[in-house]
């Protein structure tokens, strides 16, 4: 059990400093989301609602990617939801550590993302974990939404996004999100198979569907490696 009594001012300051650092770096990246989203044909308001309500980067880029490719809204929504399932796992790991009860829990839930999890799951007390979680989560939330708006306005002003390579930025963004998970050899095999399957069905299906089909690779790999059950890790941001 975490020990709530263990919290020193210096440790607290260090956790706050790290959380703000991660928050600034991640929040700035909201500029690229905002610009890519309006380039995909969504309005400034739709773009900002995505950052406020969905507030989980990979899902947001996924739904916008389907829109950019001319796919069906339902494909975009399903892809976003499937990517959002990892936040459920983060929540399961965080719940006994953060110990949020009552009205705090539904508010804290919106802040359960890659960065806030990574900055709190390693702490050894509830107090320290809460400081890491709230500092990182609130800093990312405030800046991600602010810079989404800035990016969406800028994106509307700059014209053809291809001139600025914004279409290439989306692939790079997904790769950067995937990168920490590629340290694991099994994950690399799954990633390679999923990419091959997705590209294989691109000529056969409407935009948005290839990615969902590739999700089946995860199901298959999970079933095939059932016996080699190993401990699961939270990836670094």
């Amino acid at each position: 059990m975490p020990d709530p009594g263990h919290d020193e001012p210096t440790e607290r300051r260090a956790i706050i400093r790290d959380g703000l650092g991660v928050g600034i770096a991640t929040g700035l990246y909201g500029v690229s989301f905002g610009a890519v989203s309006v380039a995909a044909g969504l309005s400034v308001l739709q773009t900002c609602v995505l950052s406020l309500v969905m507030f989980t980067g990979a899902s947001q880029f996924a739904i916008v990617g389907v829109a950019a490719a001319g796919g069906a809204p339902v494909s975009g929504a399903v892809t976003a939801l499937m990517l959002g399932t990892r936040n459920t796992l983060y929540g399961l790991k965080l719940a006994p550590l953060l110990q949020f009860r009552g009205w705090r829990r539904p508010l804290a839930a919106q802040l359960v993302i890659d960065e806030s999890t990574a900055m709190s799951v390693t702490r050894d007390s509830t107090a320290a974990a809460r400081v890491g979680f709230l500092t990182t989560g609130l800093a990312v939330f405030a800046l991600w939404n602010l810079f989404t708006f800035v990016g969406a306005i800028a994106g509307n002003l700059i014209g053809d996004p291809r001139t600025y390579g914004l279409d290439a930025a989306v692939g790079a963004a997904f790769l950067a999100l995937l990168w920490p998970r590629l340290a694991d050899r099994g994950n690399r095999v799954v990633a390679a198979c999923a990419a091959a399957v997705a590209l294989g069905v691109v000529p056969l299906t409407p935009a948005g569907v290839p990615v969902l089909v590739a999700g089946g690779v995860a199901l298959l790999a999970g079933l095939l490696t059932r016996n080699a059950a190993d401990a699961t890790e939270i990836p670094a941001p």
Partner: protein, 104 residues
Amino acid sequence: MTWWWAILGAGLGCYLLKLAGLSVPARVLERPLVERIADLIPVALLSALVAVQVFASGTHLTIDARAAGLAAAVVALLLRAPFLVVVVVAALTASLLRVVFPGW
């Protein structure tokens, strides 16, 4: 389904997925098979998203300036560049290539 419905529905759904993690007793979902598949889903989806974003154009496969952008992103990631730098490097690479080879 319009994009507004997709945005609001998936947005609310993503929030409920977060809330479920904080609220559901851990033993309900903490089975090795469920955990393993849930860990692999982002790997498979993100990798497929990279592939499709870079090499698909509608229902055709193609290699253009986006592939060069991705290669630049890999180099940046190997050099441990921060997130924003990786994205900007990829965009700049594709953008500069298009200045040299218009329409690529």
